[in-house]
Amino acid sequence: MLHRESGFYKTDYKSDMGLYRLPISRFAAFGMLVLFFAVAPLVLSEYHLTLLSLVAIAVVGALGLNILLGYTGQLSIGHAAFMSVGAYTAANLANNFDLPFLITLPAGGLMAAAVGVMVGVPSLRIKGVYLAIATLAAQFIIEWIINHSPSISGGVQASIEVDRPTLLGVKLDQPAELYYFLLIVAVIAIIATQNLIRSRIGRAFIAIRDQDIAAEIIGISVFKYKLYAFAISSFYAGVTGVLYTYYLGIASYEQFQLGVSIDYLAMIIIGGLGSVLGSVLGAFFVTLLPIGIRLAMEEIGTRFVEHDVLAQVISQLRQILFGVLIIVFLIVEPDGLNRLWINIRNYFRVWPFSY
């Protein structure tokens, strides 16, 4: 059988460490690539492609936060602030020095990583709720600095307009072109994260999450690896910020306020802490939920409320549902959508037998 371990014997360690250890998972991964690269742009409208583009951006940010919170166990409520660091870095570089995205993208990430390390330093001393407060402070401090430094934020309403990215002389200003650009970055981020997690550094992160004392005793410098986690997570956040900037055509601090940090926390809690697939599922879920709510409310909403307050209700409903969903997932399925998927998979792995 294609989908069971039995019958597939690994004869060397290299193949045993593969990302996809069963043929079916390799097929599934390939199928997903075909679906998103070839099928989606053909069948979906421009509007739906822009939605998928937003999901692709969210995937990168959610992966970054999951590396920090899900894998290393360090809570951050300042993720959106790191995104804004990346966004403004790229916007300034692109506008003032006319640099292409191949440079501004990593530069935004690196600048965010540098800021992330600074914010991460307290994590060596404080844990849990106290670290959450420290990162919350970082969220407001970074926001304030950007907002009050004209040299960074460009003055008027602290927003900078940015041209669409160009690749080989082609300006990516069609939704489909932008979609491909964002999708490729998201795929690279997914694979890089999977690689990181199965290697030496990813294991060290998980060790710190599970037992920081034992981690130090077996030779993992908790000091160094916590800062690594903050740097890598912030790098992802910075890249996310750059992607938002190119996608929206504008860098604005309003795109990166506290609510966005909470959205990303919701993504990885709903999707699944400490899981790459969970980050992706969570990014889909949280990005598309508001759209789903709006569609549903436009269908049935007028039966409950007046038409002219509907828009208000929809935006409030989104916040309420997020709150409820986070609580429900924390209680019922703390491992999130990823665990639901694993349960389904385990069921079918032995199907039609019960075990």
Partner: protein
């Protein structure tokens, strides 16, 4: 066991000199000195609260000694971070198991290899190439230890799912994966049944004999300690009251007093 002790090389791997540690008003360890010969099994015994675990915690860098010196092959350990001490080849297990419960047995052992691996951030992101080669190379050593401890069938299980005795064994494996020159075992047999204890004793002896690892052992089971130790140090209320070969320690009046109480000694005398 005396013969075995004499046959091993006689130089000292670990020298603890006049070490002291107090917590608030409590003097946990007071002016303790030990010399652990290379390749020996060196047991530290004593009643509860004698300062055994505190002493081991100072050796592994988890506590910082107030005074004194701890030298591994002439290198001062006091003041170094635990991770640096691990890099020098000191591994340990914990009294209450400290495995990484979210990871498989194999990953726990690979974490033991962490200090022997060198891949940086970029090669880990790329994985294919240098990082993969390094993983494969160190996986071999991890698998040797899995074979050695006969836990091949548990490789892919999360350590949180294992029975207590097996968790203790995996923790020993994780320490061994570091290829330590000095192995600190804090009550490796606590809470085990007779069979599990015998298994563990065999593994401790095998590690000592096969890898030549020096072992510092804290254990309450006197039968085990007297049987397998080359040397024993006895602590009581933070002070070393006796040391030497098992036969000498067994006869020491101070030891008998600490363990059995003064009145018993008087009856006996």
């Amino acid at each position: 066991m005396l013969d075995a002790g004499a046959a091993k090389s006689s130089d000292t791997i670990l020298t603890v000199a006049n070490v002291a540690k107090s917590f608030g008003g409590v003097q946990a360890v007071n002016d303790v000195s030990l010399e652990v010969p290379r390749g020996s099994i060196y047991s530290i015994i004593g009643p509860n609260g004698a300062g055994k675990t505190s002493l081991v915690n100072m050796i592994s860098g988890f506590y910082k000694a107030d005074r004194g010196s701890i030298k591994l092959d002439g290198t001062e350990l006091i003041g170094r971070r635990p991770s640096k001490i691990a890099e020098l080849g000191v591994a340990r297990t914990f009294q209450n198991i400290a495995l990484f419960r979210g990871l498989t047995v194999l990953d726990n052992l690979m974490l033991g290899r962490h200090v022997r691996m060198k891949s940086g951030v970029l090669s880990c992101f790329a994985f294919w190439g240098p990082a993969q080669r390094e993983e494969v190379e160190h996986r071999k050593r991890a698998e040797e230890i899995i074979d050695f401890l006969r836990i091949t069938d548990l490789r892919r299980l999360n350590t949180g799912e294992l029975a207590y005795g097996l968790q203790k064994r995996v923790e020993l494996g994780r320490a061994l994966a570091l290829d330590p020159t000095l192995l600190l075992l804090d009550e490796p047999m606590a809470g085990m049944n007779q069979e599990e204890k015998e298994d563990m004793v065999r593994y401790v002896l095998d590690v000592n004999a096969e890898f030549g690892t020096t072992i510092v052992l804290i254990e309450h089971d006197m039968g085990v300690v007297m049987d397998i130790s080359d040397y024993i140090a006895v602590l009581d209320q933070g002070v070393k009251i006796a040391d030497g070969t098992p036969d000498r320690v067994k006869e020491d009046p101070a030891v008998i007093r600490a363990y059995l109480g003064a009145s018993h000694l008087q009856d006996k005398v």
